[in-house]
């Protein structure tokens, strides 16, 4: 039927089910079966092509531009993981590909129809609007129909195409048949292939089309963005309106980096991605990001030094402590490596010096109450404190591995992601085994800091990750959903902005600042 015009129908069937009434997965499924029956009975039946999308831990395509003749309605189970943002994002590319495929086959395509059958609105936090706008922009003649089945009533659903004429909006349908006829009659106007206002772009080389073909839409620009979430994002991501901190206008919400590190022989040794992102909680309360990071190479390019620091305490100043640990800490380590190998690095000395420096900073920046002559150590520590996590990588391999030295004070954690799936912790896991959570975060300044030091070998393909507890708490021991998510998206270095978006993944109650430095070993 190469010369005929086909009518592509994209069906999203989304039974959420109302827990208090009898299950309505049956009802939406019934609506869908009725839809198919009506389509089969329609005189244009041979020309319909149906793609069926359901939600099974995300949008899944059960039918792919299938013909209706002889089609048995697949069973549609209750939806899980219903992200309309992701569904519209996928539909955008599916529809473009289907259209290109059809054009390549030398056929014509009538106006596409998107039909959504559901018994619930999209979940809070589902940012579907921008993806839908993208979809509508790429397929400007798309007809959108949405039927809702709520509380036993059928009516026009939540999805409306803003550009579509709204002269026949039904309040509610008398019955299923009426709902379905209204839905599929959306494309009745497309009995002929539509004439386009602008000249169609030539179809890529193939058999001559029988008539004016529906041209592939011109793309002036590409791109899309969907925020990440792992498991239940909770209500907070959708509801928080980020506020600035009016006492610290110049402290950035998010910082990020992405570089390739070459070794002494100018070979590509490491790929680095780093991001520090303000958490939802600080965004809501209008306080600054309290995490920080730094990295640098020694002048001889023999070593890479990386630092992560998490400002603790309720004060508005602990971000200064974190910044100090990163900046001064990496300088101290670099100076030491100029004369001594990392095996002989005096970590105790480094953290003690950092402690003293934080106290000195405290004397400068903390407002001294008039009745106190001098701020004590404890006074400073109560307002300016931060964790310290260092890694030193020796870029000169020993056998088939690179030596990594890790030094830690506090609950920022270092990990080695091995074989793309196994998270090996390089320190003790916080709160493991305890009944109730207790805040035993150690931090600098401390009178007698005792750093936790380990040395480990990293192989080609491993990823060394330093992170603050904003991610560490969600990662836990590395064998849960977050561990699987990060292992997958970090199987190869993503573009730096995407890395930052991944660090900012939404997950219910995990609203602390997030910082990560990920180092891929070549």
């Amino acid at each position: 039927m190469t010369g005929d015009t086909l009518f592509p129908l994209y069906l999203i069937v989304d039974p959420v089910g109302d827990r208090s009434a009898r299950p309505t997965a049956y009802a939406v499924g019934e609506l869908f079966r009725q839809c198919l029956a009506e389509l089969r009975a329609d005189r244009r039946a041979p020309w319909y092509r149906i793609s069926l999308v359901v939600f099974q831990d995300g949008p899944a395509r059960l039918l792919h531009q299938a013909a209706v003749a002889g089609l048995v309605a697949p069973d549609v189970a209750t939806s899980r993981g219903r992200s309309y943002a992701e569904a519209f994002y996928r539909l955008n590319s599916w529809m473009t590909i289907d259209l290109a495929q059809r054009s390549w086959d030398g056929g014509e395509v009538g106006t596409p129809v998107l039909l959504v059958l559901s018994d619930a609105d999209p979940a809070d936090g589902d940012h579907w609007e921008s993806e839908f706008r993208e979809l509508a922009r790429n397929h400007p003649d798309l007809i959108v129909r949405s039927v809702s089945h709520t509380a036993g009533r059928l009516s026009e659903g939540w999805l409306r195409h803003p550009a579509q004429r709204r002269d026949r909006l039904p309040d509610c349908f008398p019955d299923l048949a009426a709902a379905v006829r209204w839905a599929i009659n959306g494309e009745a106007s497309a009995a002929q292939p539509r004439q386009r206002d602008r000249p169609p772009r030539p179809v890529p080389a193939g058999p001559d089309p029988a008539g004016p073909a529906r041209a592939e839409p011109e793309r002036e620009w590409l791109g899309a963005f969907t925020p990440y979430s792992v498991g239940d994002p909770g209500a907070a991501p959708g509801k928080v309106r980020p506020a600035p901190d009016p006492t610290q206008w110049d402290r950035r919400d998010t910082v990020l980096d992405g570089v390739i590190i070459r070794d002494e022989g100018n070979r590509q040794a490491l790929t680095v991605r780093a991001a520090s992102v303000r958490g939802l909680s600080h965004r809501h309360y209008g306080t600054v990001r309290q995490d920080d990071y730094a990295f640098r190479c020694t002048d001889d390019r023999r070593y890479l030094i990386a630092v992560v620091s998490d400002g603790v305490s309720n004060s508005k100043l602990s971000h200064k402590a974190a910044a100090l640990v990163c900046r001064v800490g990496s300088e101290l380590v670099m100076m030491s490596l100029a004369s001594k190998p990392p095996d002989e690095l005096d970590w105790q000395g480094v953290v003690s010096t950092l402690s003293d420096e934080i106290v000195r900073l405290g004397h400068q920046v903390i407002e001294r109450p008039p009745d106190r002559p001098e701020l004590g150590y404890r006074d400073v520590a109560g307002q300016l404190a931060a964790t310290a996590l260092f890694a030193v990588l020796d870029l000169r391999p020993v056998g088939d591995q690179l030596l990594v030295y890790v030094c830690s004070v506090g609950d920022s954690s270092a990990w080695l992601l091995c074989d793309g799936q196994r998270w090996q912790p390089l320190q003790r896991v916080k709160n493991a085994g305890a009944d109730l959570a207790t805040p035993v975060t150690k931090a600098l300044p401390a009178r007698h800091p005792v750093p936790d030091v380990v040395r480990v070998g990293a192989h080609h393909g491993d990823v060394l990750v330093l992170m603050s507890d904003g991610i560490g708490d969600a990662l836990q021991e590395g064998d849960g959903a977050v561990g699987r998510f990060l292992a997958e998206v970090w199987s190869a270095p993503p573009p730096p902005l995407q890395f930052a978006a991944q660090v900012d993944f939404a997950r219910k109650t995990h609203d602390d600042d997030r910082t990560a430095i990920a180092i891929w070993i070549e």
Binding site: A236, V240, L280, D435
Partner: protein, 236 residues
């Protein structure tokens, strides 16, 4: 869905529904949960973490709302009604069992559970034997997962008895007692105590965001009229 690692702040409201609560006091009591729901709806950072349980007590104690997410759209808030006498022993025993069971379940589901806060509201002295309720109270507060307990007394509540219920009663994390001032309207006092509860919840949530744990009580200067705060040191 895998919730592992999610942080949880459990709150329990334990409320006296003895016969003397009938009338405007009960009405105020019934208004507490909807007011908390409203406060949570405005604070998305907090609401994702808070779980609320409601226990009422008279001759016996009943769990009217098991620990749950108050913003769950399918939730129906229970309506309280009065029953009989005032057994503190029943309240503390049921509370202890609830807390133990809830924390065990949450730990099994891999939540990170912070110490529960209990707001205990009574309008009169206990009618059971002192040795009985004191033993039940000790069992509650010496358990490993003991709660922070903030007693609130209105009307005929006994000041000394209520004062003995503050837990912890010493140290940096000690709690306090809120008592209605004499001759004040008890119904209004109950509403005031709900405001203190909500303020404490919001402060604790904010403090948790800063890395500190524990139940934060609002400053004395911000208490609603008709309510006095008593600290453990006030009872020698």
């Amino acid at each position: 869905m895998d919730q592992s690692g999610a942080k949880l702040l459990p709150f329990y409201l334990v409320i006296d529904v003895s016969v003397s609560m009938e009338g405007s006091k009960l009405q105020s009591a019934n208004n507490i949960m909807p007011t908390i729901v409203d406060a949570l709806a405005e604070n998305p950072i907090l609401s994702d973490k808070v779980r609320f349980g409601l226990i009422d007590f008279s001759d016996d104690a009943q769990v009217r709302l098991p620990l749950c997410d108050l913003l769950d759209p399918n939730l129906t808030l229970p309506a309280l009604s009065v029953r009989g006498a005032t057994s503190y022993a029943a309240a503390f025993t049921t509370l202890r069992h609830e807390i133990d069971a809830n924390i065990a379940q949450l730990k099994a589901d891999q939540y990170v559970v912070h110490r529960p806060a209990v707001w205990f509201i009574s309008d009169g002295a206990p009618t059971d034997r002192a040795s009985d309720w004191q033993r039940a109270f000790t069992e509650l507060t010496t358990a490993k997962a003991y709660p922070n307990l903030i007693p609130c007394g209105v009307d005929q509540a006994d000041l000394k008895v209520m004062g003995s219920l503050i837990h912890p009663s010493s140290g940096s994390k000690k709690m306090a007692l809120y008592m209605m001032e004499p001759n004040h309207d008890p119904a209004k006092a109950i509403t005031g105590m709900a405001e203190i509860l909500i303020s404490s919840m919001i402060h604790s949530g904010y403090s948790l965001a800063g890395g500190n744990t524990g139940t934060i009580l609002p400053p004395k200067s911000s208490l609603p009229p008709g309510i006095t705060q008593f600290d453990p040191d006030d009872f020698v």
